[in-house]
């Protein structure tokens, strides 16, 4: 379902007359099967969220953000990308590295559900409107989107909060609204970037349980970035999810 082939990412950090190359990934490969629940763990700065953003097509795999620097050897101006990268990401048998514009947007809308640490709900919209939003973006009618959103909110035990705006909801409630929103288009892949990071410990367990239930009931492939490894184990020290992928921080830093 998710395949990452030879993914490379290097940051060219320009500092005065020099720039420093900071390697994030070097030939990163990973594969997640249909229906798997995989957690990506690792220290801060190892690129967990970046990996998720690249898979979710919010971040580009290719070179970007060019700056002009003067090559001291040749004394000529050169244009270099501050973010250097290449590789291939395949989602649901589709090479998404080449997708652009509306095709890319449509692919995200239909196939990927995103859940963020800080829920990222639109504050001016009610819980119902927030949940219905991806379906409205897909072009479905307001009536149909609202009906589905209402159903999902009820599944998330938030039926009575549908007309409330995010500001009056608790952290856990907001995150449940965000989960409902990510599910409304029946995505095949759910990408969760530290979904329990900002929650009260009691709520963390609740959210994780919901993910497990979604994974088992709806066979949704889940790739979750988390710091909280303990919550992934049950009382018998057994992993609740299918797999853990551990990323380490790249040591390589080259001064140029």
């Amino acid at each position: 379902m998710i395949t990452v082939n030879n993914l490379n990412r290097t940051y060219n950090i320009v500092e005065g007359r020099t720039f420093k190359k900071q390697v994030l990934y070097k030939n990163l490969n990973l594969s997640v099967k249909q229906g798997e629940f995989v957690a990506v763990v690792g220290p801060s700065g190892c690129g967990k969220s970046t990996l998720l953003n690249m898979i979710g097509m919010l971040d580009s795999v290719k070179d970007r953000d060019y700056v002009t620097v003067i090559n001291e050897t040749s004394d000529k101006k050169e244009s270099i990308p501050t973010v250097e990268g290449n590789g291939q990401i395949i989602l649901n048998n589709q090479d998404v590295t080449e997708l652009k514009g509306n095709t890319k947007s449509e692919f995200i809308n239909k196939n990927i559900g995103f859940i963020f640490q800080f829920h990222h709900l639109i504050p001016e919209l009610t819980a119902l409107q927030n949940v219905a939003l991806p379906m409205r973006i897909r072009g479905k009618s307001k009536k149909e989107a609202n009906k589905n959103a209402q159903q999902l909110l009820e599944e998330m035990e938030l039926g009575e909060y549908q007309s409330k705006k995010p500001a009056v909801l608790s952290g856990g409630e907001k995150q449940r609204v965000a989960i409902a929103r990510s599910l409304i288009n029946h995505p095949k892949i759910l990408l969760a970037d530290e979904p329990t990071g900002s929650l009260h410990p009691k709520m963390k367990q609740d959210i994780l349980e919901r993910f497990l239930k979604l994974n088992s009931d709806k066979n949704i492939t889940i790739l979750m970035v988390t710091h909280d490894i303990d919550s992934l184990y049950d009382d018998n020290k057994q992993l609740k999810i299918d797999r853990l992928i551990s990323l380490s921080k790249a040591e390589e830093e080259i001064d140029t």
């Binding site: 970046t50 953003n53 979710g56 919010l58 971040d59 514009g101 509306n102 947007s105 449509e106 692919f107 995200i108 809308n109 239909k110 990927i112 995103f114 963020f116 990222h120 709900l121 639109i122 001016e124 919209l125 939003l133 991806p134 409205r136 973006i137 897909r138 929103r181």
Partner: protein, 435 residues
């Protein structure tokens, strides 16, 4: 429509209201300025068409030669609706206002010795008293003028002179020298109103440049309102036959006046006539005659365009900065929408629909208020406009003007919304979601 709903949340209502107000004010200014300019243009055009035929053909010729040329032209050019002979004469005249008073002559043999009846001793009956009308001369002027001796047929002339007459528009009076009882009538004439500030009355005119001191009795039929238009010489219009008689050149003419169906085609047709008649004829169109005035009008038009363009630039900057601010303020929300898979075209639509809605409000409300303001402006500043030569000012807004204003406003809002929308599409969603 989702994009319209989202635009309401992404762009602060206060900004939209301020932009809407800007659009309304812009459209009002545009329509008022356009209406005023149109008034001024039409007033000038009216005067130009009234004092010039659409085309004038100059050459000294006899009446028979003139007739031949007229027939030839009418046959050759279907655009010509009328062509008549005329005699244009720039000459020095001595003109006096001549108020008619009753006078008595005390001696039949010497009638020139007349006294005012009121001062004459009533009881002296032995004198032979003859009562006559006489002239009380005042405001004598000795000036060079342009006399146009024109043909009047069925109360119409080639020049649209009727449109600027202040007084009697009975043009046939120019041809009359006797009344229905065969009594001699003074010659009828029209005169540029600013020359004597009169629209009627008796005048005595002599033509010393033509070698005669004879005083001729004229009756002013009306004044010609030229507004701010000033020719090189004051204009006097009379019948061609009378002018020919006065200067003792019967059957002599020097001009053929031509009227066209489409006055603005005059330059093209004048050229064609020139080609046909040859270089011995001097042919000019009314547009060429008023080249300087049209150049001035074009400068005014250009200045108006500059003012309108400045308004547009200010409006464009306002729309651009407001929408850019909205993009910056809402970068997180836009990034969320991108993470949910919103299409680039929808992001464009969010900003463009907002800008177009504001533009539409500006066009509709501004259009109505602009129309009413033009009306109010014309009533309130009517006197000032008349002083500028704009007689009977009225709202001069055509459907085309309103359509042009509406299209320009909407296009402006559309164009200025594109760049902020593009910035919204290009923004880095990851960076914004991290904040």
């Amino acid at each position: 429509m989702l994009e319209l709903m989202l635009s309401r949340y992404l762009i602060k209502p206060l900004f939209s209201i301020l932009l809407g107000l800007g659009a309304i004010i812009g459209v009002i200014c545009l329509l008022v300025v356009l209406s005023l300019f149109q008034n001024y243009f039409l007033a000038s055009e009216k005067v130009f068409m009234s004092i010039h035929p659409h085309i004038q053909i100059h050459k000294e010729m006899t009446a028979d030669e003139g007739k031949k040329i007229i027939t030839q032209l009418k046959n050759a050019f279907s655009e010509i609706t009328d062509a008549e002979p005329a005699l244009y004469l720039p000459t020095r005249i001595i003109i006096s206002k001549a108020d008619i008073v009753e006078a008595a002559c005390v001696n039949k043999q010497n009638q020139s010795f007349c006294l005012d009846m009121k001062n004459y001793p009533q009881d002296d009956t032995e004198l032979d008293i003859v009562v006559k009308e006489g002239f009380n001369l005042s405001e004598k002027k000795d000036e060079k003028v342009l006399i146009k001796g024109i043909t009047v047929t069925d109360n119409e002339t080639v020049m649209a002179i009727k449109r600027i007459i202040n007084g009697s528009s009975n043009l046939e009076r120019l041809n009359q020298t006797q009344d229905s009882n065969d009594f001699v009538l003074p010659y009828g004439f029209y005169m540029e109103q600013s020359f004597f500030n009169e629209i009627s009355g008796a005048f005595l005119i002599s033509f010393p440049a033509l070698g005669t001191d004879k005083l001729n009795h004229f009756r002013l039929n009306g004044g010609l309102k030229l507004g701010t238009k000033r020719g090189k010489l004051p204009l006097i219009v009379m019948s061609i036959e009378i002018l020919q008689t006065l200067i003792n050149k019967p059957n002599q003419l020097n001009t053929i006046e031509v009227k066209l169906a489409k006055p603005y085609d005059s330059a093209k047709i004048a050229q064609a006539i020139q080609n046909k008649l040859g270089s011995e004829f001097q042919i000019t169109s009314w547009i060429e005659k008023e080249k300087a005035a049209f150049a001035f009008l074009n400068i005014v038009k250009f200045m108006i365009f500059l003012i309108i363009f400045s308004i547009c630039i200010v409006a464009a900057i306002s729309v651009y900065s407001t929408l850019s601010l909205a993009v910056i303020e809402n970068r997180k929300k836009i990034s969320i929408l991108k993470a949910l898979g919103i299409k680039d075209s929808s992001i464009y639509l969010i900003f463009i629909s907002n800008a177009l809605s504001i533009g539409m409000v500006g066009v509709v409300v501004g259009g109505i208020l602009g129309y009413l303001s033009s009306h109010y402006f014309i009533i309130y500043f009517g006197e000032n406009l008349r002083a500028l030569g704009i007689e009977n000012p009225e709202i001069q807004l055509t459907q085309g003007d309103i359509l042009l204003t509406a299209s320009a406003t909407l296009l402006l809002f559309l164009i200025t919304a594109i760049v902020p929308a593009r910035n919204a599409i290009k923004m880095d969603a990851v960076d914004n979601l991290r904040q």
